[in-house]
Amino acid sequence: MPHTPTGEPDAAPADIAPVDVEPLVQLVSPTGERVVEPDNAGYRSRVDHLTSEDLRALYRDMVLTRRFDDEATALQRQGELALYAQGRGQEAAQVGSAYALAPQDYVFPSYREHGVLQARGVDPVDRLRLYRGQDHGGWDTEAHNVHLYTLVIGSHVLHATGYAMGIQRDGAVGTGDAARDAAVVTYFGDGATSQGDVSEALVFAAVNNAPVVFFLQNNQWAISEPTSRQSRAPLYQRGEGFGIPSVRVDGNDVLAVYAVTAEALERAHSGGGPTFIEAYTYRMGAHTTSDDPSRYRERAEEDYWARRDPIERVAALLRAEDGWDDDWAAGIDREADALGERLRTEVRQLGAPPTATMFEHVYATEHAQVQTERAWFEQYENETNETTGATR
């Protein structure tokens, strides 16, 4: 069988310092130096206003996201979670893009965007209800303008597009009022790009000129399948084929991610329509706690990317530009410890919801089938309790 040209170098070549794909927006090198080139001037200007307070805040959220990840993974190993999908390695892509959002912007995540949730203030314990098998959602979407995780790959990308069409109808686009103009950012993976729903979302967004940012985290793997099983063209080009301006960014460079997202949101807010962003990053962990990456990928590749850890990159930048305030850093470690402590305690306390919730909210108004079955079940439970003293 003829082999497929991928148009993309393999993910794990030799031992090169810079990331190895072109074009790629990058503002900070893996070793923490600012990248100053003529063609990133526009993006550089978008991060000019970020103070060292901002850099510290980005760093803090990335570190807390990493700690959240480690604690959740540990909790799963201890049998406290049904499953967990690690975000390790994708903190810059997630936190950096979320920082660019206005409060009124709306997020449609996939299921791995713990860093986005961190930046949007979704309570860490709530973030784990789903993975504990205690709730199908877990947080108040309206309180954070973050929709629930969606597990059917790609389907939420259409919801995001429809939501953006609603924003248009509300007249909340192109008013010039920064507190009013709104947009949607939706996150999905390299695997998801193959789903028809994602392509249809690009169609709907383009023809409606909807204010939506398609934020693809190309973490190189869809479970065991490398990106070359999903596309033979670099994925950022996908958007262009639908008439959507597209850009590829170093997803492990939090400032570059912030800059391209800010640009995309400015376009969306002002009525310029959708943007497609490919954040080129790496899933450093397993797909989920059920997965064993050693079955399908090489240690050398993991090592290559370990040297491009997005958190180390911000740390290096902070060291270079902000000195490194040991007290401040220790404070963040204490915060992380407290987060871990809280998760270990409170997640364990997330018990089963009352049995009756099984029948609640199937419909918003009464439905005879649910009523009948619920009534039957309640009687059955009562009888069983009476006769056996326990349900089962």
Binding site: H136, T141, S155, G166, D197, A201, E360, Y363
Partner: protein, 333 residues
């Protein structure tokens, strides 16, 4: 105030009243705008309500329903048109895994009041995929309401209730009845809570009272059942016709109440009987009327074969004769 309208036009007027009463109502689908839909059900609506509220979408059913869900999350009430029964399946994933489950998934925090209008059923001499009855494929899924009107008045009342209801509704329109006429009286536009619980979305209707046998039907087969009842009446058998209106929820109470009186039951629908909605009716009636049933519940419906070519559809569809034959059999028991 009451008017004689075709079935199709009753839906148009129901949609018009919804669009007028609630600025959040949208109509969307393929060719629903300038063209007014291939059955002209949305005729004139784009002219009156504009391109932002009556929206010609790209040709992608998953996209239509998926973006409608997003619009609903933003507070809109989209009414999606699927052009023909056989073309709803590209949207099946969005309907089954997203639309049906989002209210539950969010523990009631989110509502997705999306209506999906589907012209369905056969008898119009069409090509493949244009005559099917897939309602059971939706009614099995918790979270969806599945309804089908059989008269212009119900069509009008039910589409308005469906649009106002906070739950997603699959609205199956018996396309073979689009040109039938009836009186339609307007009424006040329902509130969301009233609409969800409205009789027209929840309760069966006695379309014709009778004493010897209960004929259960909905949508296109109500007319068949009524004709069969005429024939039977002429032969001295009094058939009661129950129009279910809703397949989910199924008004088992009303059906069982009727069967307890008549002792016999025949269910009629166009979909294949195997695992069709009649299976549920038969199972429930058999259970709930165990001591009143004089004969097994029989089902008259499509066969376990894909909808056939137009030239054979009248052999495939439940005919008056086949209904009468089934009644003869339950009476002979």
């Amino acid at each position: 105030m009451s008017e004689t309208l075709t079935f199709a036009r009753a839906i148009t007027e129901g949609l018009r009243s919804a669009l007028e009463s609630d600025p959040k109502v949208l109509v969307m689908g393929e060719d629903v705008g300038r063209n007014g839909g291939v059955f002209r059900v949305t005729d004139g609506l784009q002219k009156d309500f504009g391109e932002d509220r009556v929206v010609d979408t790209p040709l992608a059913e998953s996209g239509i329903v998926g973006t409608a869900i997003g619009l609903a999350l933003r507070g809109y009430r989209p009414v999606c048109e699927i052009q023909f029964d056989g073309f709803v399946f590209p949207a099946y994933d969005q309907i089954t895994t997203q639309l049906a489950k989002m209210h539950y998934r969010s523990r009631g925090r989110l509502q997705v009041p999306v209506v999906i209008r589907i012209p369905y059923g056969g008898g119009i001499g069409a090509v493949e995929h244009h005559s099917e009855s897939p309602e059971a494929l939706f009614a099995h899924t918790p979270g969806l309401r599945v309804v089908s009107p059989s008269t212009p008045q119900d069509a009008y009342d039910m589409i308005r209730a469906a649009v106002a209801s906070p739950d997603p509704v699959l609205f199956f329109e018996p396309k073979g009845r689009y040109w039938s006429k009836g009186e339609v009286a307007a009424g006040p536009y329902p509130t969301a809570q009233a609409a969800g619980g409205a009789d027209v979305l929840n309760r069966a209707r006695i379309a014709r009272p009778g004493t010897d046998v209960t004929l259960v039907a909905y949508g296109p087969t109500v007319a068949t059942a009524l004709k069969a009842a005429d024939t039977l009446g002429a032969e001295g058998t009094s058939a009661e016709v129950v129009d279910l209106r809703a397949i989910s929820p199924l008004d088992v109470t009303a059906v069982a109440e009727s069967v307890r009186r008549t002792g016999r039951c025949v269910v009629v629908h166009e979909a294949p009987t195997f695992l069709g909605s009649g299976a549920e009716v038969a199972a429930r009636v058999s259970e709930e009327c165990f001591y009143s049933l004089e004969a097994p519940v029989l089902r008259v419906g499509g066969f376990h074969a894909p909808y056939p070519v137009a030239k054979l559809e009248h052999e495939y569809l439940p005919s008056v004769d086949r209904v009468v034959d089934a009644v003869d059999r339950v009476l002979a028991h």
